[in-house]
């Protein structure tokens, strides 16, 4: 009997030998570099002209914001309160704000590319399962002394490994590109975090890792959904198309259903865990624990359905 590790090796070989998947890796690198160049050459000039009097500028900014704050409805005040608090902290602790973009600001901007990695992962997991059926190779794959369960799990795990690799690549490359384009001078700058009206200093690395982790929730849920749909319908286009559509339309669907009480049980309402860390949750009776439970329930349902259909259904095509 072959070990599970060797099945993963097989799946990895199929992922990385395929031209389309290699292009995805290149696309991610291209997007980071292009993003860096666009910010570098279109953003405000990175001159040191105001370096001396940044404190006065922040004081002025705060005055403007406080003025606006008075005319604002209560829900939209959070952002301004946060900005004011952070500015005050900077003045008090002598921490000048970044002039234009800096290395950590760029890494933070590039967190948005995790969405792209999610889409790539959906494509990888969807095709990894469905193309075996399209090509007919499933017939030679499943007549080995290996259980169908280990075959599908090898596919799932190798796809998640692809996602992890892409995330590491995103982190390292965006840090390097940020450093090369905007200088490594601000590396040791702390990240100012605003929670419950208080500003605290943490490291940028911790902040970025936390953001990656929060974004991974959506990545894992959507990749699992894509795998389940591919295993159930054995159709790559359906699996990839439907999952990407749901991912894109998820927030719209949630907003549309927000008037109903049961919206809190909808997957998309629970996928953004950052709503509990900064800002207000969608629904008052939603807590972090509640969302985690809802996510686990959806995850288990996806896994069971995908697994059942893959292991129990006849290979008839």
């Amino acid at each position: 009997m072959s070990s599970f590790f060797q099945l993963i090796q097989n799946e990895n070989m199929k992922i990385y030998r395929k031209g389309a998947n290699r292009i995805m890796v290149l696309m991610l690198l291209g997007l980071i570099i292009a993003g860096g160049l666009i910010i570098k050459f279109s953003g405000p000039d990175n001159t040191d002209a105001h370096k001396g009097n940044w404190k006065q500028e922040l004081v002025q900014d705060n005055k403007d914001m406080e003025k606006q704050l008075k005319e604002m409805p209560a829900q939209s005040q959070t952002y301004f309160k946060k900005e004011i608090a952070i500015n005050k902290y900077r003045i008090a602790h002598n921490l000048p704000p970044a002039q234009g973009e800096n290395i950590w600001g760029f890494v933070k901007d590039m967190i948005g590319l995790i969405m792209v990695i999610s889409i790539f992962t959906i494509i990888v997991v969807g095709t990894s399962i469905s193309s075996e059926f399209n090509w007919g190779t499933i017939k030679l794959l499943l007549i080995r002394p290996v259980s169908r369960t280990s075959v599908i799990f090898a596919k799932y795990i190798s796809s998640l490994m692809f996602a992890i690799g892409m995330l590491i690549l995103l982190g390292i490359v965006s840090w390097l590109v940020g450093g090369i384009l905007f200088g490594f001078a601000d590396i040791s700058q702390p990240f100012l975090q605003y929670t419950d009206g208080k500003v605290t200093e943490t490291s940028w690395v911790m902040y970025v890792l936390k953001q990656y982790g929060l974004n991974c929730v959506q990545l894992i849920m959507m990749a699992t959904l894509a795998g389940a749909i591919a295993a159930i319908f054995r159709n790559g286009a359906l699996s990839i198309g439907l999952t990407i559509f749901l991912m894109m339309a998820g927030s719209t669907i949630t907003a549309f259903l927000a008037k109903y009480d049961w919206v809190k049980y909808v997957l998309f309402a629970n996928m953004d865990l950052s709503q509990y860390l900064n800002g207000t949750p969608l629904n008052d009776d939603m807590t972090l624990g509640f969302s985690v439970i809802v996510l686990v329930v959806y995850y288990v349902i996806f896994m069971i359905f995908g697994w059942l259909f893959f292991t129990k259904r006849d290979i008839a095509a």
Partner: protein, 319 residues
């Protein structure tokens, strides 16, 4: 017709390599396979024959575990495909329909892929197999550059990689040129005769089956119409039924029975059918003429496999 020596006659003393026990398959409420039972023994090439839609592919897919068995059971070396799939399938190498491989991988990478799914296959074993199927020069090229014949060879290589004792081949000569067909045929015969493999072959080329198989099972409408020895089936060079057209068949039959020790198979008004060697025909002619029977014609009633096949399956009854 080549002479095939059956190493292992199915005489019930040996354990079958593959055993089907009243296997049934229902798809969507419709019975597709209606109770198949047959045994295949080590060292024999078993031909699986039937018109399109008869259930050949479904049966093969049930043997290799791609399809669930609705009722009954299939055993490979005594292990049930249903309950001990891994232990059963370990002995099996197969090509199910076309040998579809990963086209973006090289032939060698494809074989590495399948070798990782079984225990202990050395690089030497892979190289040996590559040489054996004659793909040595092209094994490091991507499969998408292969001809159908080369893919067929690669398919055979993956099926033989783990030295199976049961080989299942769906249309193995499909897409091969005549030289390739001959080669594969000889190779299959050799695997059965020298290495004692049980080989199950399905083919629509009846002449191919005649040359390759020891026994042939005919399946129609999900039922086994008959399992027969190829020799009995087609009648070789020895005794075969000879049909004499005469004016009085009954009398002719009586004469033969009284004077000669030949077996009269069949007779009526104007024919008599006798089991004969070629050399025995003149003797019968002589006797019949001597006894005043008018002889109008002599036909060798040996059937080709195709005749027999059409006869057994009813010829037109393709459902």
């Amino acid at each position: 017709m080549q002479q095939h020596q059956m190493l292992n006659k199915p005489d019930g003393t040996e354990q079958p390599a593959v055993k089907l026990e009243d296997v049934k398959k229902v798809i969507g409420g419709k019975p597709i396979i209606k109770g198949l039972s047959f045994d295949i023994y080590p060292g024999e090439v078993f031909g699986f024959l039937g018109p399109n839609g008869a259930g050949k592919t479904t049966t093969i897919r049930m043997i290799v575990g791609l399809m669930r068995i609705t009722e009954g059971n299939i055993y490979i070396h005594g292990k049930s495909v249903k309950s001990h799939f891994k232990d059963a399938i370990r002995h099996v190498g197969a090509i199910v329909e076309n040998p579809e491989m990963y086209k973006f991988l090289t032939g060698y990478q494809n074989l590495i892929h399948y070798s990782r799914m079984v225990k202990d296959i050395s690089r030497e074993r892979i190289n040996d197999i590559v040489e054996l199927v004659g793909l040595k020069d092209r094994i490091n090229d991507k499969v998408k550059t292969y001809s159908l014949g080369m893919r067929q060879r690669l398919g055979l290589a993956q099926a033989l990689l783990h030295s199976p004792s049961v080989l299942i081949l769906d249309e193995p000569t499909n897409g091969l040129d005549p030289a390739g067909i001959r080669e594969i045929r000889h190779y299959i015969r050799r695997l059965a005769e020298e290495e004692g493999l049980a080989v199950i072959v399905s083919s629509h080329l009846l002449s191919e089956m005649e040359l390759m198989c020891d026994r042939i099972g005919i399946i129609q409408n999900g039922k086994l119409v008959g399992v027969q020895n190829v020799h009995d089936f087609v009648q070789g060079d020895s005794q075969r039924p000879i049909r004499f057209s005469v004016d009085d068949g009954d009398q002719a039959a009586q004469i033969i029975r009284e004077t000669l020790d030949f077996e009269v198979i069949n007779h009526d008004n104007d024919i008599v059918e006798i089991q004969l060697d070629t050399e025995q025909i003149p003797i019968v002619v002589e006797i019949l003429v001597e006894k005043g029977i008018k002889l109008y014609g002599i036909i060798s009633a040996a059937k080709t496999l195709e005749d027999k096949f059409l006869e057994v399956t009813g010829g037109r009854d393709i459902v």
